[in-house]
């Protein structure tokens, strides 16, 4: 059974009298526990697709089915409750947190809103989440501004898995991180996927990153999906010009394992 099924999605922006086609007839599917890498040059529409899937932005046309339901038909309280099942990790490790938040409050929000555990149990659950993403529990009382970028992205991941989602959308989730910690965070993501059967829609312009986590890769160019296939096939034997350009942008790109968590920049 497919977890996510997107059909004929389209989106236009009108900015300053100019009409931009951000998404043009986009269709894709994603199975549970799988990672679909979404590659594409800057401005090709990747974030727009991610934001529409997250219901942060309405599409102009098309449909999205998630876990057998019409995802675009949900609204209000129904939508808020179902949101537990689709989570997101943002690129900007700073901007994605309220500057007033503490590490504990960031993780407390999903637990409280979706009543994951009783109130008295929340501190224990927060410590557990921190531990799961490889952080010390004593980080909880710190302001979110007082932890490093890598730690912050681990906290974002902890927040995303707090509601036990079936799908996490990651929009350039490791792009802002130092190369030395990027591999570690990718490893953590692959581990969590194996352990909890989470599907990832992994947006990145960097095929070296996508190679390390994706089962399949789809390449976007000017709002259209121009090539989709197994990760290995797209990287070893790119067909479209957009895919070839992305491959040639990463000099030492050799696939070692189908989903090898070997990330070599």
């Amino acid at each position: 059974m497919t977890l996510l099924e997107i059909n004929n999605l389209s989106k236009h922006f009108r900015s300053g009298g100019r009409d931009v086609t951000a998404l043009d007839d986009v269709s894709l599917t994603l199975d549970p526990g799988q990672t679909l890498g979404l590659a594409g040059a800057s401005g090709s529409g990747k974030s727009t697709l991610a934001r529409i899937v997250m219901r942060l932005l309405p599409p102009d046309g098309g449909s999205i089915r998630f876990a057998g339901e019409d995802w675009l038909a949900l609204s209000g309280k129904d939508l808020r409750r179902r949101r537990a099942k689709i989570q997101m990790v943002f690129q900007d490790v700073l901007g994605a947190f309220n500057p007033r938040a503490t590490v504990a409050s960031v993780l407390d929000d999903p637990l409280r809103i979706h009543e994951i555990v009783p109130k008295s149990d929340r501190p224990r659950k927060i410590a557990e989440l921190l531990d799961r993403v490889g952080l010390q529990a004593n980080l909880a009382d710190r302001s979110i501004r007082d932890v490093s970028g890598g730690q912050r992205q681990r906290i974002a991941i902890a927040r995303a898995i707090a509601t036990d989602p079936a799908l996490i959308v990651l929009d350039e989730a490791v792009s802002a991180l130092d190369v030395s910690i990027r591999g570690k965070v990718l490893e953590l993501l692959v581990e969590l996927q194996r352990e909890r059967d989470i599907a990832y829609l992994f947006v990145s312009h960097d095929l070296a990153v996508l190679r390390a986590v994706s089962h399949r890769i789809t390449v976007m160019d000017g709002g259209r999906l121009v090539e989709t296939g197994p990760a290995r096939q797209v990287i070893d034997n790119p067909q479209s010009t957009a895919a070839r350009a992305l491959v040639s942008a990463v000099p030492r790109l050799r696939i070692q394992t189908p989903q090898g968590h070997s990330y070599e920049p």
């Binding site: 942060l56 939508l79 537990a84 999903p110 501004r145 509601t163």
Partner: protein, 276 residues
């Protein structure tokens, strides 16, 4: 509390806050510092300053104590300035938040009203309002607030619109936070600081407007104000300039203190932002 500590860390903030605290104490303890009605005739008219120790700043044309006038005038100036600024900020916040959150037609309509108020010079508005309704302290406060709420309204709306698009608001939506909670916990606290920094400037402008209204004889006739003292002294400006100069100095010191304070506040908030 941390804000106050950081504020004192900047020289402007420290000096401004220091003077303002002093002025506030003077305003608060005016009846102790200078008992009795400051408008009563206390001594012989036009007593020169620094001649009689019991009237250090001399007396005016009617024999009223100038120092007593300045001390009690502090009360009026600060009270009117702060009350008018509070009213303006309150109205501005309500209008700006409504426009920013509601969007669409409501936003359009409210912003046209804001435009209208911004186009009319605020002093003319206050002047017209007071001369139609009649001079009393509450009317003066409302008149000044009417001309001052448009700026905070515009700023609040701009803040809400910009913060609404931040990733952390998207992140709150993504985990299913209720829209009301997003407005109150994610957007409002982060939208406020620049508006509060603006409030100090509004206080300074309000104090000046109040003085100008009093100068034109449109202040409350039953209370002493620096503006009415300056106007009173104007009649004998050549022979006794001190009658206008002393309340003038009080006015300048207060307004400069408020500006320094707001400068320090803006810097402190700006620095907090950069760390953020």
């Amino acid at each position: 509390m941390r804000l106050v500590r950081n504020l004192i860390g900047t020289p402007e903030g420290a000096i401004g806050l220091g003077i303002l605290v002093l002025l506030a104490l003077v305003a608060l303890f005016a009846p102790v510092l200078s008992p009795g009605d400051p408008l009563r005739i206390a001594a012989r008219p036009l007593l020169a300053p620094f001649t009689d120790p019991s009237f250090p700043l001399g007396t005016d044309r009617l024999g009223r104590d100038v120092l007593a006038g300045i001390i009690h005038g502090t009360r009026t100036s600060l009270a009117v300035g702060i009350a008018a600024a509070l009213a303006a900020i309150a109205i501005g916040l309500c209008v700006g938040l409504t426009a920013g959150f509601a969007g669409g037609l409501v936003d359009e309509a409210l912003m046209r009203v804001v435009d209208a108020f911004q186009i009319v010079p605020s002093f003319l508005l206050a002047l017209a309002f007071v001369s139609v309704i009649g001079a009393s302290v509450p009317v003066v406060v409302i008149a000044i607030a009417l001309g001052a709420w448009a700026d905070p309204a515009r700023l609040t709306r701009a803040q809400v619109l910009s913060i609404r698009e931040r990733d952390y608001v998207a992140s709150a939506r993504v985990i299913g936070t209720h829209p009301v909670e997003i407005a109150l916990r994610e957007i409002l606290p982060n939208a406020l600081p620049p508006v509060l920094a603006l409030s100090a400037i509004i206080v300074a402008a309000a104090i000046l407007t109040e003085a100008a209204l009093s100068f034109l004889g449109l202040g409350d006739p039953n209370v002493v104000t620096w503006g009415s003292m300056i106007a009173e002294g104007r009649n004998v400006l050549r022979s006794s300039p001190s009658l206008s100069i002393f309340p003038g100095i009080a006015l300048v010191v207060t307004v400069v203190a408020v500006y320094l304070f707001s400068e320090g506040l803006t810097k402190t908030i700006g620095r907090g932002r950069r760390i953020a």
